[in-house]
Symmetry: C2
Subunit: 331 residues, 2 copies
């Protein structure tokens, strides 16, 4: 398998992106194409860890990078030759099998949808984000579609279900609907109708509405949401986690006894913080697009990129997209 990596996008690009790519490529035997500034990529490749070979590495030269502030459309227009734009074109032309980028989410989504096209039969692509809950929970949609119809929500459920089957080996992933109550009548009219569609669908295992307070406790494997409240859910989770760890640190450093206590339990705090970190889960798949595209977090370091390489490989090799295409025909 050959993975195209946007080497220039992300807060820690190109250094951490290239290092993570190399580590993942070596460990999971994935061939790589790095897109971006040729000189900088070559320089980073020279700094590679001992023992990593460059025989399966290519460079695809590109000009510039799409920033977080750039208009998403720029990936198809003024910045078509940026690292992300060139990567998307290379994927479209079949020079690689999948694309990984830590760049501007809107641009990656728009570029993927318009250049690679959606899977036949799928009306909307969505961003799947694996939440660090008691069991890994795929949030679908994490922010691509702020307004949805009941049919979009059903598509998100089916695509998310296939992804969790293939990526996590779950036989029958439990699908829940993010809502403001557990009763079937809860939510907006779109949610009420979606509940009925989800319950009637034979291709998924629907377990009902999930309230925000239930989310961390592993009640479902796929959490279906409109992109607006899905985004609120994901970001509140991130924000509250950071706030609590920060507050705890401050509180534990406040007295000599608590400082000693904190030292004695240091390993446990680190474990918990790591368990709660997005880095462990790789990136977010763009589901509904005709080729495998993975969005890594903008702040990704090498470890997160390494995990995302493994994820891209499984995403590609287990035929997630072919299975979504099959199921979409039947919807």
């Amino acid at each position: 398998m050959k993975l195209i990596i946007d080497a220039m996008s992300g807060d820690k690009a190109p250094g951490e992106i290239i290092l993570g790519g190399l580590l993942g490529g070596a460990e999971y035997r994935v061939n790589l194409i790095f897109c971006g500034d040729e000189e900088r990529i070559k320089k980073e490749l020279q700094l590679r860890p001992h023992g990593i070979k460059l025989s399966n590495i290519e460079i695809l030269p590109a000009n510039g990078v799409i920033s977080m502030e750039d208009d998403p459309l720029s990936v198809l227009k003024s910045k078509k030759n940026s690292s992300m734009g060139a990567g998307l074109t290379a994927l479209k032309e079949g020079r690689g099998d999948a694309l990984l980028s830590a760049g501007n989410t809107g641009a990656l989504l728009m570029g993927s949808t318009l250049l690679l096209k959606r899977i036949r039969g799928i009306k909307r692509a969505a961003i799947g984000s694996v939440l660090p809950a008691k069991v890994p929970t795929l949030l679908m949609d994490a922010g691509a579609n702020v307004e949805v119809t009941p049919e979009f929500l059903l598509e998100f459920a089916i695509m998310g279900s296939v992804y969790m089957q293939r990526l996590y080996g779950l036989k029958s992933p439990r699908v829940g609907l993010l809502n403001n109550g557990t009763e079937a009548c809860k939510g907006t009219p779109a949610h009420v109708e979606a509940y009925q569609l989800l319950q009637a669908c034979k291709n998924i295992h629907f377990v009902g509405n999930i309230e925000g307070s239930m989310m961390p406790f592993g009640h479902c494997d796929v959490l279906v949401a409109d992109g607006f409240s899905g985004n609120v859910c994901l970001k509140v989770l991130e924000g509250v986690g950071k706030y609590l760890f920060d507050s705890m640190k401050e509180s534990l450093l406040s007295t000599p006894a608590s400082r000693i206590g904190a030292m004695m339990a240091k390993r446990q705090f680190k474990q918990l913080k790591r368990k709660f970190s997005a880095d462990e889960y790789g990136g977010a798949p763009l589901l509904g697009v005709s080729k495998p595209v993975i969005k890594a977090h903008g702040s990704s370091e090498a470890l997160a990129i390494k995990h995302a390489v493994r994820q891209a490989k499984i995403f590609y090799e287990t035929g997630v997209i072919e299975e979504i295409l099959n199921l979409a025909k039947g919807v």
Copy 2:
């Protein structure tokens, strides 16, 4: 001031409700009317802590209680004489100045809106919930209106602003809009339009869009939201807090060293947990209704009820409703 308390609603009613009411009534010099089963209320009053007098306490006998599963409309129909129904009627008739209930939110909201009526000029009542963030942040709406117009969101901002001025003594509360990005163009069409209305409104201090991840860090004093994503925000906050405290406890008990460490930092953990607990903040005001109504959390214990008594007193005595009425004329 005379506060009507629904003595029978809530997981720990009537015991904790009555105890909290008595403690709050004594400390903040508030006269009380307890609504509910006369015999049970009398029995609880006999068990009161030493030194609390009953001279300013009345009992309003009522039959039955509205459960969490009851249809909200039942408060006006089959369960009109329940503790909540009788309390609402007493408030309407002017037998008390404000109402406090830990019961079914939907029923309390519907009963308040239909029986007490909305403030003239206000189109929708909303549930304000004080989030345990770095600074107390009033979420408006926490779940009453799953679908909103830009005008509703503006009303929520104005009402929340008055409440935070009067209850927390803030001169010019900062108002933020819960959204999926900070740029003015983010969100649904209703959010985009609301951004413009909020920015143009002279009666509030609008500070822009607030993402979920910013929420805990004190960027605003009033967080305006549609009731659906507001509810997701509130409940994810609760759920993640509980999940992290549970995980930490489990993790800290896992080795002898970490157990000792946890013991040495016990006070800090307790402080943090308390800071993050809803009990410290009393209840959620129903804003937009013509009389002060406060919804306490269903799991409220005496301490939460005591705080809610104080809150009801300030809500009533600082003229929040009169000020909303004044401002609503100008909208």
